[in-house]
Symmetry: C2
Subunit: 203 residues, 2 copies
């Protein structure tokens, strides 16, 4: 398969490449690294990326861009909520919408979400949770409406083992999961037949 | 209690007024009806509304504005998804954020969401589901972060009995619920002590 991997340089992206490379041709895309440049927050850059690529079998997104604005709810604003909505949510939505005509029949999109449930709430992350939950709903709805047997799934990890050192202080007590397990969920989505699934990891 | 009811002229709004009137003072706000005018998609109009009101005990929102753009996923775009994000989601978020200093200690916000789960998916509604799911996450996160004992809950109805004639053809086979039951969920939120709850009705 020809697999476009957007955001290949982070912990999840590198684990996906390690899982799939060898079996498949990986085309890496990123803001600063990769075979092609793309900024998922810039719709024109997504359109330009697809125009330079051959027909694909799968698109995997491993980055949510800026993800969201971190602040207590009482210090948030509509403008601050738009950070996560425009990057993690609509950035990935645009990767799907503009990619529909560049993926072969039966091909797949795999997006990256995260937690949003009450047991996973940590202070200051309401913007990220909002984007994560909206991605759940988008994938659930898109799965029953996409044409030509195209499939779409969401990988929703909690805190990565690899991120505990950098971010663990924000999430004391939260379950963690290795990036390699997250990458296997991408494999399940891309190399399997599932559609409309949200793979929740680290619970 | 002094209760601000935004969107009092629709099926849900009228049922809320019927449930709470007599026991409480209802201040009705709406785009075209009510004691004060407000358009929840216009942040300045929300700010201006609160400046004209006395201190409140509760804020109840019964309208999602334009709710969302209805179209198959393959015909959607980021611009079309912004309809629901800016109206149903950020419109209600702004009602909360700008209302924080206008509601007394322990007072409540009650917002209107809806369905977003796989068993409730109907074609063309992905924008509405996205906004609904994002509202779930916002309320869940805000409930643990709001200051001064302020509470927040979400009422998430499926199709109303009263809407079957107008919208039933979009939702064949879906469970329905009377607006009076939806209004009782607002009562539970406003007159009770609960916080961070999503009241799912009609399942």
């Amino acid at each position: 398969m020809k697999i476009l991997l957007i955001g290949g340089s982070g912990n999840i992206g590198r684990a996906i490449a390690a899982e799939l490379d060898g079996r498949h041709e990986i085309i890496a895309a990123g803001r600063q690294h990769g075979d092609v440049r793309v900024d998922i927050e810039d719709e024109a850059s997504i359109i330009a990326m697809y125009q330079r690529l051959p027909e694909l079998d799968a698109v995997a997104v491993a980055t949510g861009g800026r993800n969201g604005h971190l602040a207590p709810v009482a210090e948030m604003s509509a403008a601050r909520y738009r950070v996560g909505l425009e990057s993690k949510l609509l950035g990935q939505v645009n990767v799907v919408l503009h990619g529909l005509n560049h993926v072969r029949d039966g091909g797949s999109f795999t997006l990256v979400g995260g937690v949003s449930d009450a047991q996973s709430i940590a202070p200051q992350f309401s913007n990220v949770y909002m984007a994560n939950a909206a991605l759940d709903a988008f994938v659930t709805a898109a799965a029953v409406e996409l044409p030509r047997g195209l499939r779409i799934n969401l990988v929703a990890p909690q805190l990565l083992d690899e991120s505990v050192e950098a971010y663990g202080a924000w999430f004391r007590g939260m379950p963690t999961t290795p990036a390699a397990s997250v990458a296997r969920a991408y494999s399940l989505s891309i190399e399997g037949m599932q559609n409309g699934q949200v793979y929740r990891l680290g619970r």
